[in-house]
Protein backbone atom coordinates (compact mmCIF):
# COMPACT_ATOMS: atom_id res chain seq x y z
CA UNK A 1 0.00 0.00 0.00
CA UNK A 2 1.29 3.41 -0.84
CA UNK A 3 1.53 6.09 1.77
CA UNK A 4 -1.23 8.03 0.07
CA UNK A 5 -3.57 5.05 0.11
CA UNK A 6 -2.84 4.50 3.79
CA UNK A 7 -3.68 8.09 4.63
CA UNK A 8 -6.84 8.02 2.54
CA UNK A 9 -7.90 4.77 4.16
CA UNK A 10 -7.21 6.11 7.63
CA UNK A 11 -9.19 9.29 6.93
CA UNK A 12 -12.11 7.29 5.58
CA UNK A 13 -12.05 5.07 8.61
CA UNK A 14 -12.19 7.94 11.08
CA UNK A 15 -14.79 9.91 9.15
CA UNK A 16 -17.23 7.06 8.75
CA UNK A 17 -17.49 6.76 12.51
CA UNK A 18 -21.02 7.99 13.28
CA UNK A 19 -20.56 11.14 15.28
CA UNK A 20 -24.12 11.28 16.62
CA UNK A 21 -24.65 9.51 19.88
CA UNK A 22 -28.40 9.80 19.36
CA UNK A 23 -30.74 7.04 18.34
CA UNK A 24 -33.36 7.56 15.66
CA UNK A 25 -36.92 8.36 16.77
CA UNK A 26 -37.89 4.71 16.30
CA UNK A 27 -34.88 3.66 18.33
CA UNK A 28 -35.87 5.99 21.15
CA UNK A 29 -39.47 4.77 21.14
CA UNK A 30 -38.25 1.18 21.24
CA UNK A 31 -35.86 1.95 24.11
CA UNK A 32 -38.63 3.68 26.11
CA UNK A 33 -41.03 0.78 25.46
CA UNK A 34 -38.44 -1.70 26.70
CA UNK A 35 -37.72 0.45 29.76
CA UNK A 36 -41.46 0.58 30.61
CA UNK A 37 -41.79 -3.17 30.11
CA UNK A 38 -38.74 -3.71 32.34
CA UNK A 39 -40.33 -1.52 35.03
CA UNK A 40 -43.51 -3.58 34.72
CA UNK A 41 -41.51 -6.75 35.25
CA UNK A 42 -39.83 -5.34 38.35
CA UNK A 43 -42.70 -3.48 39.99
CA UNK A 44 -45.77 -4.96 38.23
CA UNK A 45 -46.41 -7.74 40.72
CA UNK A 46 -46.22 -5.16 43.55
CA UNK A 47 -48.86 -2.96 41.93
CA UNK A 48 -51.36 -5.76 41.70
CA UNK A 49 -54.32 -5.06 43.99
CA UNK A 50 -56.57 -7.91 42.90
CA UNK A 51 -55.32 -11.47 43.35
CA UNK A 52 -54.48 -12.54 39.77
CA UNK A 53 -55.47 -16.12 40.52
CA UNK A 54 -58.79 -15.36 42.27
CA UNK A 55 -61.50 -17.21 40.37
CA UNK A 56 -64.93 -15.57 39.99
CA UNK A 57 -66.90 -17.88 37.74
CA UNK A 58 -70.01 -15.70 37.97
CA UNK A 59 -68.17 -12.96 36.09
CA UNK A 60 -66.56 -14.97 33.26
CA UNK A 61 -65.68 -12.74 30.31
CA UNK A 62 -67.00 -9.72 32.19
CA UNK A 63 -66.45 -6.38 30.45
CA UNK A 64 -64.13 -3.76 31.95
CA UNK A 65 -65.43 -2.30 35.18
CA UNK A 66 -64.15 -0.10 38.02
CA UNK A 67 -62.42 -2.99 39.85
CA UNK A 68 -61.35 -4.74 36.65
CA UNK A 69 -60.03 -2.13 34.16
CA UNK A 70 -59.50 -4.69 31.37
CA UNK A 71 -62.30 -7.06 32.25
CA UNK A 72 -62.13 -10.70 33.37
CA UNK A 73 -61.15 -13.98 31.74
CA UNK A 74 -62.98 -17.28 31.23
CA UNK A 75 -62.69 -18.06 34.94
CA UNK A 76 -63.52 -14.53 35.99
CA UNK A 77 -59.92 -13.73 36.96
CA UNK A 78 -58.85 -10.07 36.67
CA UNK A 79 -57.09 -9.60 33.30
CA UNK A 80 -55.21 -6.44 34.30
CA UNK A 81 -53.57 -8.01 37.34
CA UNK A 82 -52.81 -11.21 35.40
CA UNK A 83 -51.05 -9.23 32.67
CA UNK A 84 -49.12 -7.23 35.29
CA UNK A 85 -48.01 -10.21 37.33
CA UNK A 86 -47.32 -12.13 34.11
CA UNK A 87 -44.82 -9.51 33.02
CA UNK A 88 -42.15 -10.87 35.34
CA UNK A 89 -42.54 -14.54 34.38
CA UNK A 90 -42.68 -13.57 30.69
CA UNK A 91 -39.55 -11.42 30.74
CA UNK A 92 -37.25 -13.10 33.28
CA UNK A 93 -37.01 -16.25 31.14
CA UNK A 94 -35.80 -14.53 27.98
CA UNK A 95 -33.48 -12.35 30.05
CA UNK A 96 -31.85 -15.44 31.58
CA UNK A 97 -31.51 -17.04 28.15
CA UNK A 98 -29.86 -13.92 26.77
CA UNK A 99 -27.49 -13.45 29.71
CA UNK A 100 -26.39 -17.09 29.80
CA UNK A 101 -25.99 -17.48 26.03
CA UNK A 102 -24.18 -14.15 25.70
CA UNK A 103 -21.70 -15.05 28.45
CA UNK A 104 -21.14 -18.54 27.04
CA UNK A 105 -20.94 -17.44 23.42
CA UNK A 106 -18.64 -14.50 24.12
CA UNK A 107 -16.30 -16.54 26.30
CA UNK A 108 -16.15 -19.36 23.78
CA UNK A 109 -15.54 -17.02 20.83
CA UNK A 110 -12.85 -14.97 22.56
CA UNK A 111 -11.02 -18.13 23.64
CA UNK A 112 -11.29 -19.59 20.13
CA UNK A 113 -10.00 -16.41 18.51
CA UNK A 114 -7.08 -16.05 20.89
CA UNK A 115 -5.97 -19.68 20.96
CA UNK A 116 -6.64 -20.13 17.24
CA UNK A 117 -5.52 -23.20 15.32
CA UNK A 118 -7.31 -26.49 15.90
CA UNK A 119 -9.21 -25.15 18.92
CA UNK A 120 -10.76 -22.38 16.84
CA UNK A 121 -11.65 -24.89 14.12
CA UNK A 122 -13.23 -27.25 16.66
CA UNK A 123 -15.27 -24.47 18.27
CA UNK A 124 -16.42 -23.25 14.85
CA UNK A 125 -17.56 -26.77 13.88
CA UNK A 126 -19.45 -27.40 17.12
CA UNK A 127 -21.05 -23.97 16.91
CA UNK A 128 -22.19 -24.63 13.34
CA UNK A 129 -23.62 -28.01 14.32
CA UNK A 130 -25.65 -26.59 17.22
CA UNK A 131 -26.64 -23.59 15.10
CA UNK A 132 -28.20 -25.93 12.56
CA UNK A 133 -30.51 -27.39 15.25
CA UNK A 134 -33.69 -25.33 15.83
CA UNK A 135 -33.77 -23.90 19.35
CA UNK A 136 -37.49 -24.38 19.88
CA UNK A 137 -37.20 -28.05 18.95
CA UNK A 138 -34.35 -28.50 21.42
CA UNK A 139 -36.45 -26.80 24.11
CA UNK A 140 -39.43 -29.08 23.41
CA UNK A 141 -37.10 -32.06 23.58
CA UNK A 142 -35.71 -30.83 26.91
CA UNK A 143 -39.17 -30.34 28.44
CA UNK A 144 -40.22 -33.81 27.31
CA UNK A 145 -37.19 -35.29 29.06
CA UNK A 146 -36.93 -33.11 32.16
CA UNK A 147 -40.61 -32.29 32.54
CA UNK A 148 -42.65 -29.22 31.69
CA UNK A 149 -41.81 -25.84 33.14
CA UNK A 150 -39.45 -23.02 32.37
CA UNK A 151 -36.28 -24.44 33.86
CA UNK A 152 -35.45 -27.05 31.23
CA UNK A 153 -36.65 -24.76 28.43
CA UNK A 154 -34.41 -21.91 29.58
CA UNK A 155 -31.39 -24.19 29.75
CA UNK A 156 -32.14 -25.66 26.31
CA UNK A 157 -32.69 -22.24 24.73
CA UNK A 158 -29.52 -20.86 26.35
CA UNK A 159 -27.55 -23.64 24.71
CA UNK A 160 -29.16 -23.16 21.33
CA UNK A 161 -28.73 -19.36 21.42
CA UNK A 162 -25.03 -19.62 22.29
CA UNK A 163 -23.83 -20.38 18.72
CA UNK A 164 -25.57 -17.30 17.33
CA UNK A 165 -23.69 -15.03 19.74
CA UNK A 166 -20.47 -17.04 19.40
CA UNK A 167 -20.49 -16.66 15.61
CA UNK A 168 -20.96 -12.91 15.71
CA UNK A 169 -18.43 -12.36 18.48
CA UNK A 170 -15.90 -14.60 16.74
CA UNK A 171 -16.13 -12.60 13.53
CA UNK A 172 -15.81 -9.27 15.32
CA UNK A 173 -13.00 -10.50 17.58
CA UNK A 174 -11.07 -11.87 14.58
CA UNK A 175 -11.29 -8.47 12.89
CA UNK A 176 -10.19 -6.74 16.09
CA UNK A 177 -7.35 -9.19 16.64
CA UNK A 178 -5.90 -8.46 13.22
CA UNK A 179 -5.38 -4.78 14.08
CA UNK A 180 -1.79 -3.65 14.66
CA UNK A 181 -2.44 -2.48 18.21
CA UNK A 182 -3.08 -6.07 19.27
CA UNK A 183 0.22 -7.12 17.69
CA UNK A 184 1.92 -4.24 19.52
CA UNK A 185 0.50 -5.43 22.86
CA UNK A 186 1.55 -8.99 22.12
CA UNK A 187 5.08 -7.81 21.31
CA UNK A 188 5.09 -6.07 24.69
CA UNK A 189 4.33 -9.42 26.32
CA UNK A 190 0.75 -8.87 27.48
CA UNK A 191 -1.11 -12.10 28.24
CA UNK A 192 -3.72 -13.35 25.80
CA UNK A 193 -6.43 -13.23 28.47
CA UNK A 194 -5.54 -9.63 29.29
CA UNK A 195 -5.56 -8.63 25.63
CA UNK A 196 -8.89 -10.39 25.07
CA UNK A 197 -10.65 -9.02 28.15
CA UNK A 198 -9.07 -5.56 28.44
CA UNK A 199 -8.76 -4.65 24.75
CA UNK A 200 -10.76 -6.86 22.38
CA UNK A 201 -13.89 -7.24 24.54
CA UNK A 202 -14.46 -3.52 25.29
CA UNK A 203 -14.08 -2.72 21.60
CA UNK A 204 -16.74 -5.20 20.52
CA UNK A 205 -19.01 -4.80 23.57
CA UNK A 206 -21.42 -2.57 21.63
CA UNK A 207 -21.96 -5.25 19.01
CA UNK A 208 -22.45 -7.91 21.68
CA UNK A 209 -25.01 -5.79 23.53
CA UNK A 210 -26.84 -5.06 20.27
CA UNK A 211 -27.12 -8.74 19.43
CA UNK A 212 -28.16 -9.58 22.98
CA UNK A 213 -31.03 -7.10 22.56
CA UNK A 214 -32.07 -8.80 19.31
CA UNK A 215 -31.83 -12.24 20.95
CA UNK A 216 -34.08 -11.06 23.76
CA UNK A 217 -36.93 -10.62 21.28
CA UNK A 218 -36.39 -14.06 19.78
CA UNK A 219 -36.09 -15.74 23.19
CA UNK A 220 -39.30 -14.06 24.35
CA UNK A 221 -41.13 -15.46 21.30
CA UNK A 222 -39.69 -18.95 21.82
CA UNK A 223 -40.57 -19.10 25.52
CA UNK A 224 -44.02 -17.62 24.89
CA UNK A 225 -44.56 -20.27 22.23
CA UNK A 226 -43.59 -23.01 24.71
CA UNK A 227 -46.03 -21.66 27.28
CA UNK A 228 -48.65 -21.28 24.57
CA UNK A 229 -48.51 -24.98 23.74
CA UNK A 230 -48.51 -25.78 27.44
CA UNK A 231 -44.91 -26.91 27.91
CA UNK A 232 -43.67 -23.75 29.62
CA UNK A 233 -45.30 -21.81 32.45
CA UNK A 234 -48.03 -23.92 34.05
CA UNK A 235 -51.47 -22.83 35.20
CA UNK A 236 -52.52 -21.01 37.24
CA UNK A 237 -49.35 -18.85 37.11
CA UNK A 238 -49.92 -15.86 34.82
CA UNK A 239 -47.70 -15.58 31.74
CA UNK A 240 -48.29 -13.73 28.49
CA UNK A 241 -47.61 -16.74 26.28
CA UNK A 242 -49.77 -19.01 28.43
CA UNK A 243 -52.53 -16.37 28.42
CA UNK A 244 -52.59 -16.38 24.63
CA UNK A 245 -53.05 -20.15 24.90
CA UNK A 246 -55.88 -20.08 27.46
CA UNK A 247 -57.41 -17.13 25.64
CA UNK A 248 -57.90 -19.25 22.53
CA UNK A 249 -61.03 -20.69 24.08
CA UNK A 250 -62.39 -17.17 24.50
CA UNK A 251 -61.80 -16.33 20.84
CA UNK A 252 -64.19 -19.09 19.81
CA UNK A 253 -66.81 -17.54 22.10
CA UNK A 254 -66.16 -14.11 20.58
CA UNK A 255 -64.49 -12.99 23.83
CA UNK A 256 -60.90 -12.44 22.56
CA UNK A 257 -59.78 -9.92 25.22
CA UNK A 258 -57.37 -12.22 27.09
CA UNK A 259 -55.53 -13.49 23.97
CA UNK A 260 -55.57 -10.01 22.42
CA UNK A 261 -54.08 -8.14 25.38
CA UNK A 262 -51.44 -10.79 26.03
CA UNK A 263 -50.37 -11.04 22.41
CA UNK A 264 -50.38 -7.26 22.08
CA UNK A 265 -47.88 -7.03 24.96
CA UNK A 266 -45.73 -9.76 23.38
CA UNK A 267 -45.80 -8.07 19.97
CA UNK A 268 -44.96 -4.63 21.36
CA UNK A 269 -42.07 -5.95 23.47
CA UNK A 270 -40.63 -8.10 20.68
CA UNK A 271 -41.01 -5.34 18.08
CA UNK A 272 -39.24 -2.93 20.43
CA UNK A 273 -36.40 -5.38 21.11
CA UNK A 274 -36.01 -6.11 17.40
CA UNK A 275 -35.99 -2.53 16.19
CA UNK A 276 -33.68 -1.32 18.96
CA UNK A 277 -31.38 -4.32 18.49
CA UNK A 278 -31.39 -3.83 14.73
CA UNK A 279 -30.42 -0.20 15.03
CA UNK A 280 -27.70 -0.93 17.60
CA UNK A 281 -26.26 -3.69 15.40
CA UNK A 282 -26.13 -1.36 12.40
CA UNK A 283 -24.45 1.35 14.45
CA UNK A 284 -21.84 -0.97 15.88
CA UNK A 285 -21.13 -2.44 12.45
CA UNK A 286 -20.72 1.01 10.92
CA UNK A 287 -18.34 1.84 13.73
CA UNK A 288 -16.14 -1.21 13.30
Amino acid sequence: MTALAVVAEARRRTRRRPRGKHLSVLGWVAAVVLAVVALLAVFGPLLVTVDPNAVDLGNAFADPSAGHPLGQDASGRDLFSRLLSGARTSLVGPLLVVVVSTLLGTGLALAAVWVGGWFDTAVARVVDAVFAFPGLLLAILATSIFGTGLQAAIIALSISYTPYIARIVRGAALRERSLPYIAALRVQGLRGTAISLRHILPNIAGLIFANATLSFGFALIDLAALSFIGLGVQAPTADWGAMVGTGMAGIQQLEPQEALWASLLIVITVAAANSLGDELVKRSEARA
Binding site: V6, A184, Q188, G189
Partner: protein, 291 residues
Protein backbone atom coordinates in the same frame (compact mmCIF):
# COMPACT_ATOMS: atom_id res chain seq x y z
CA UNK B 1 34.74 -1.53 2.91
CA UNK B 2 37.08 -3.45 0.71
CA UNK B 3 35.67 -2.77 -2.72
CA UNK B 4 32.53 -1.57 -4.40
CA UNK B 5 31.85 -5.10 -5.60
CA UNK B 6 31.86 -6.14 -1.97
CA UNK B 7 28.54 -4.44 -1.50
CA UNK B 8 26.85 -6.87 -3.84
CA UNK B 9 25.12 -9.25 -1.48
CA UNK B 10 25.78 -12.26 -3.66
CA UNK B 11 29.49 -11.50 -3.73
CA UNK B 12 30.07 -10.64 -0.09
CA UNK B 13 32.08 -12.53 2.46
CA UNK B 14 31.98 -11.98 6.20
CA UNK B 15 34.93 -9.63 6.18
CA UNK B 16 33.22 -7.51 3.60
CA UNK B 17 29.92 -7.31 5.42
CA UNK B 18 29.74 -3.58 5.78
CA UNK B 19 26.78 -3.58 8.12
CA UNK B 20 28.78 -5.39 10.78
CA UNK B 21 29.49 -3.72 14.08
CA UNK B 22 32.79 -1.87 14.21
CA UNK B 23 34.38 -4.28 16.66
CA UNK B 24 32.34 -5.95 19.38
CA UNK B 25 29.19 -8.02 19.14
CA UNK B 26 26.38 -6.65 16.98
CA UNK B 27 23.12 -6.00 18.85
CA UNK B 28 21.23 -7.77 16.09
CA UNK B 29 22.51 -10.45 13.72
CA UNK B 30 20.38 -12.23 11.16
CA UNK B 31 21.75 -15.14 9.21
CA UNK B 32 20.16 -16.92 6.27
CA UNK B 33 16.65 -15.91 7.31
CA UNK B 34 13.93 -17.57 5.25
CA UNK B 35 10.17 -17.55 5.46
CA UNK B 36 7.73 -19.41 3.26
CA UNK B 37 3.94 -19.36 3.45
CA UNK B 38 1.77 -22.24 2.34
CA UNK B 39 2.89 -25.68 1.30
CA UNK B 40 3.58 -27.65 -1.84
CA UNK B 41 2.54 -25.96 -5.05
CA UNK B 42 1.03 -23.02 -3.18
CA UNK B 43 4.29 -22.31 -1.36
CA UNK B 44 5.30 -18.68 -1.57
CA UNK B 45 8.73 -17.53 -0.50
CA UNK B 46 8.42 -14.21 1.33
CA UNK B 47 11.96 -13.95 2.63
CA UNK B 48 14.82 -15.88 1.10
CA UNK B 49 18.26 -16.10 2.69
CA UNK B 50 18.44 -12.67 4.29
CA UNK B 51 21.54 -11.90 6.36
CA UNK B 52 22.58 -8.65 7.98
CA UNK B 53 24.00 -7.21 11.15
CA UNK B 54 23.21 -4.12 13.14
CA UNK B 55 25.79 -2.46 15.37
CA UNK B 56 24.78 -1.44 18.88
CA UNK B 57 23.53 2.13 18.63
CA UNK B 58 23.47 1.87 14.85
CA UNK B 59 20.69 2.46 12.42
CA UNK B 60 19.97 0.06 9.59
CA UNK B 61 17.63 0.80 6.71
CA UNK B 62 15.70 -1.87 4.85
CA UNK B 63 14.60 -0.59 1.45
CA UNK B 64 12.37 -2.27 -1.07
CA UNK B 65 9.03 -2.10 -2.83
CA UNK B 66 5.79 -3.63 -1.54
CA UNK B 67 6.05 -7.39 -1.30
CA UNK B 68 9.84 -7.40 -1.13
CA UNK B 69 9.77 -9.12 2.26
CA UNK B 70 10.60 -6.12 4.43
CA UNK B 71 7.62 -6.43 6.72
CA UNK B 72 7.85 -10.23 6.99
CA UNK B 73 11.47 -9.78 8.05
CA UNK B 74 10.36 -7.29 10.71
CA UNK B 75 7.63 -9.63 11.96
CA UNK B 76 10.19 -12.40 12.38
CA UNK B 77 12.55 -10.08 14.25
CA UNK B 78 9.90 -9.19 16.85
CA UNK B 79 8.64 -12.76 17.09
CA UNK B 80 5.26 -12.45 15.41
CA UNK B 81 6.32 -14.97 12.76
CA UNK B 82 8.53 -18.01 13.06
CA UNK B 83 11.30 -18.22 10.46
CA UNK B 84 11.25 -21.29 8.21
CA UNK B 85 15.04 -21.34 8.34
CA UNK B 86 17.93 -19.16 9.49
CA UNK B 87 18.92 -17.57 12.75
CA UNK B 88 18.08 -14.41 14.65
CA UNK B 89 20.53 -13.34 17.35
CA UNK B 90 19.48 -10.46 19.59
CA UNK B 91 22.07 -9.05 21.97
CA UNK B 92 24.10 -12.24 21.82
CA UNK B 93 21.23 -14.67 22.47
CA UNK B 94 19.37 -16.80 19.96
CA UNK B 95 15.82 -15.58 19.43
CA UNK B 96 14.97 -17.42 16.23
CA UNK B 97 11.84 -19.06 17.62
CA UNK B 98 9.06 -16.84 18.94
CA UNK B 99 8.77 -16.98 22.73
CA UNK B 100 6.03 -19.22 24.07
CA UNK B 101 6.12 -18.52 27.79
CA UNK B 102 4.90 -15.13 28.92
CA UNK B 103 8.17 -14.45 30.79
CA UNK B 104 10.23 -14.97 27.64
CA UNK B 105 7.77 -12.91 25.64
CA UNK B 106 8.23 -9.98 28.04
CA UNK B 107 12.00 -10.41 28.07
CA UNK B 108 12.02 -10.24 24.28
CA UNK B 109 9.75 -7.19 24.50
CA UNK B 110 12.41 -5.41 26.59
CA UNK B 111 14.95 -6.21 23.90
CA UNK B 112 13.16 -5.31 20.71
CA UNK B 113 10.06 -3.25 19.97
CA UNK B 114 8.21 -2.09 16.88
CA UNK B 115 6.30 0.92 15.58
CA UNK B 116 3.80 0.11 12.84
CA UNK B 117 2.87 2.04 9.75
CA UNK B 118 -0.72 3.03 10.39
CA UNK B 119 -1.00 5.32 13.42
CA UNK B 120 -4.81 5.00 13.34
CA UNK B 121 -4.98 1.29 14.04
CA UNK B 122 -1.84 1.07 16.17
CA UNK B 123 -3.66 2.29 19.27
CA UNK B 124 -6.66 0.90 21.15
CA UNK B 125 -9.37 3.44 20.25
CA UNK B 126 -11.01 3.15 23.67
CA UNK B 127 -7.86 3.58 25.75
CA UNK B 128 -6.59 6.95 26.89
CA UNK B 129 -3.01 7.69 25.88
CA UNK B 130 -1.75 7.82 29.46
CA UNK B 131 -3.39 4.48 30.26
CA UNK B 132 -1.89 2.97 27.12
CA UNK B 133 1.63 3.97 28.21
CA UNK B 134 0.93 3.10 31.85
CA UNK B 135 -0.21 -0.40 30.96
CA UNK B 136 3.14 -1.16 29.32
CA UNK B 137 5.21 0.44 32.08
CA UNK B 138 3.32 -1.55 34.72
CA UNK B 139 3.76 -4.72 32.69
CA UNK B 140 7.53 -4.45 32.48
CA UNK B 141 8.55 -2.60 35.59
CA UNK B 142 5.69 -3.14 38.02
CA UNK B 143 5.39 0.55 38.83
CA UNK B 144 2.18 1.91 40.35
CA UNK B 145 0.76 5.07 41.86
CA UNK B 146 2.76 8.26 41.56
CA UNK B 147 5.89 6.48 40.29
CA UNK B 148 3.84 5.15 37.39
CA UNK B 149 2.33 8.57 36.66
CA UNK B 150 5.76 10.17 36.72
CA UNK B 151 7.18 7.60 34.32
CA UNK B 152 4.21 8.04 31.94
CA UNK B 153 4.69 11.82 31.97
CA UNK B 154 8.40 11.33 31.35
CA UNK B 155 7.67 9.12 28.35
CA UNK B 156 5.22 11.69 27.09
CA UNK B 157 7.81 14.45 27.35
CA UNK B 158 10.34 12.28 25.55
CA UNK B 159 8.13 12.25 22.45
CA UNK B 160 6.67 15.72 22.93
CA UNK B 161 3.24 14.87 24.36
CA UNK B 162 1.75 16.93 27.19
CA UNK B 163 -0.65 16.10 30.02
CA UNK B 164 -3.62 17.20 27.95
CA UNK B 165 -2.74 14.66 25.26
CA UNK B 166 -2.08 11.96 27.83
CA UNK B 167 -5.65 12.36 29.03
CA UNK B 168 -7.04 12.18 25.48
CA UNK B 169 -8.37 9.28 23.45
CA UNK B 170 -6.55 8.39 20.22
CA UNK B 171 -9.28 9.91 18.02
CA UNK B 172 -8.64 13.32 19.58
CA UNK B 173 -5.03 13.27 18.35
CA UNK B 174 -3.54 13.86 14.91
CA UNK B 175 -1.73 11.17 12.96
CA UNK B 176 1.67 12.57 13.92
CA UNK B 177 0.69 12.70 17.59
CA UNK B 178 -0.56 9.14 17.48
CA UNK B 179 2.70 7.99 15.96
CA UNK B 180 4.48 9.77 18.83
CA UNK B 181 2.33 7.71 21.21
CA UNK B 182 3.24 4.50 19.38
CA UNK B 183 6.92 5.43 19.66
CA UNK B 184 6.53 6.22 23.37
CA UNK B 185 4.72 2.92 23.94
CA UNK B 186 7.55 1.03 22.23
CA UNK B 187 10.16 2.95 24.25
CA UNK B 188 8.26 2.32 27.48
CA UNK B 189 9.71 -1.20 27.48
CA UNK B 190 13.19 0.38 27.26
CA UNK B 191 14.19 -1.82 24.32
CA UNK B 192 17.67 -1.95 22.86
CA UNK B 193 16.36 -2.23 19.32
CA UNK B 194 13.44 -0.37 17.78
CA UNK B 195 11.95 -1.47 14.47
CA UNK B 196 10.17 1.29 12.56
CA UNK B 197 8.07 -0.39 9.89
CA UNK B 198 7.13 2.41 7.45
CA UNK B 199 6.55 4.40 10.61
CA UNK B 200 6.47 7.80 8.89
CA UNK B 201 5.00 6.75 5.54
CA UNK B 202 1.43 7.62 6.46
CA UNK B 203 2.33 11.09 7.70
CA UNK B 204 2.46 14.46 5.94
CA UNK B 205 5.94 15.49 4.87
CA UNK B 206 6.29 18.21 7.52
CA UNK B 207 5.14 15.83 10.25
CA UNK B 208 7.48 13.20 8.82
CA UNK B 209 10.41 15.56 9.34
CA UNK B 210 9.37 16.21 12.96
CA UNK B 211 9.14 12.51 13.73
CA UNK B 212 12.47 11.79 12.04
CA UNK B 213 14.13 14.52 14.10
CA UNK B 214 12.53 13.10 17.21
CA UNK B 215 13.84 9.64 16.36
CA UNK B 216 17.34 11.01 15.75
CA UNK B 217 17.26 12.77 19.14
CA UNK B 218 16.05 9.66 20.93
CA UNK B 219 18.78 7.57 19.35
CA UNK B 220 21.37 10.07 20.47
CA UNK B 221 20.01 10.25 24.03
CA UNK B 222 19.18 6.61 24.61
CA UNK B 223 21.52 4.70 22.36
CA UNK B 224 18.64 2.68 20.91
CA UNK B 225 19.46 0.88 17.68
CA UNK B 226 17.05 1.28 14.78
CA UNK B 227 15.89 -0.99 12.04
CA UNK B 228 14.18 1.45 9.72
CA UNK B 229 11.97 -0.08 7.07
CA UNK B 230 10.85 2.20 4.28
CA UNK B 231 10.30 2.53 0.57
CA UNK B 232 11.22 6.20 0.84
CA UNK B 233 14.89 6.65 -0.06
CA UNK B 234 15.05 10.22 1.25
CA UNK B 235 13.92 9.01 4.67
CA UNK B 236 16.40 6.13 4.61
CA UNK B 237 19.21 8.53 3.72
CA UNK B 238 18.33 10.82 6.59
CA UNK B 239 17.95 8.33 9.41
CA UNK B 240 20.19 5.32 8.70
CA UNK B 241 23.94 4.59 8.69
CA UNK B 242 23.80 1.34 6.76
CA UNK B 243 21.17 -0.04 4.46
CA UNK B 244 20.10 -3.22 2.74
CA UNK B 245 18.01 -3.32 -0.41
CA UNK B 246 15.48 -6.14 -0.69
CA UNK B 247 13.73 -7.47 -3.74
CA UNK B 248 11.56 -10.58 -4.01
CA UNK B 249 12.64 -11.60 -0.51
CA UNK B 250 16.36 -11.39 -1.21
CA UNK B 251 18.99 -8.85 -0.25
CA UNK B 252 20.28 -7.44 -3.53
CA UNK B 253 22.61 -4.84 -2.09
CA UNK B 254 23.96 -3.76 1.26
CA UNK B 255 26.47 -1.29 2.61
CA UNK B 256 26.80 2.23 3.96
CA UNK B 257 23.58 4.09 3.21
CA UNK B 258 25.31 6.89 1.32
CA UNK B 259 27.24 4.42 -0.87
CA UNK B 260 24.18 2.30 -1.57
CA UNK B 261 22.13 5.30 -2.61
CA UNK B 262 24.82 7.34 -4.37
CA UNK B 263 26.56 4.64 -6.37
CA UNK B 264 24.30 1.62 -6.46
CA UNK B 265 25.83 -1.50 -7.95
CA UNK B 266 22.66 -3.47 -8.38
CA UNK B 267 20.33 -2.50 -11.27
CA UNK B 268 17.33 -2.74 -8.96
CA UNK B 269 18.78 -0.25 -6.49
CA UNK B 270 19.53 2.06 -9.42
CA UNK B 271 15.92 1.72 -10.54
CA UNK B 272 14.61 2.49 -7.05
CA UNK B 273 16.81 5.56 -6.88
CA UNK B 274 15.91 6.75 -10.36
CA UNK B 275 12.20 6.24 -9.67
CA UNK B 276 12.24 9.13 -7.21
CA UNK B 277 10.71 12.10 -9.04
CA UNK B 278 13.33 14.72 -9.89
CA UNK B 279 13.92 17.41 -12.51
CA UNK B 280 13.62 15.93 -15.98
CA UNK B 281 12.04 12.77 -14.60
CA UNK B 282 9.72 10.90 -16.96
CA UNK B 283 7.42 8.32 -15.36
CA UNK B 284 7.95 4.92 -16.89
CA UNK B 285 11.19 5.84 -18.58
CA UNK B 286 13.19 3.94 -16.00
CA UNK B 287 11.50 0.57 -16.36
CA UNK B 288 13.80 -2.18 -15.23
CA UNK B 289 14.84 -4.75 -17.77
CA UNK B 290 15.53 -7.86 -15.79
CA UNK B 291 16.93 -11.17 -16.86
Amino acid sequence: MSSTAGRRADARTDSERTTAAPGGVPILAVDGLRKTFGRGRKEAVAVDGVSFELAAGGSLGIVGESGSGKTTTARMLIGLEQPTAGRIVLDGADHTRPARRIRDLRARGRLIQIVFQDPYTSLDRRQKIGDCLGEVVRLHFGLSGSALDARVRELGELVGLHDRQLRALPRELSGGQRQRVAIARALAAEPKILILDEAVSALDVSIQAQILNLLADIREQRGVSYVFISHDLAVIRQITDTAIVMRHGRVVEQGQTADVLDSPQDPYTRLLRDSVPHAGWRPGADALVTS
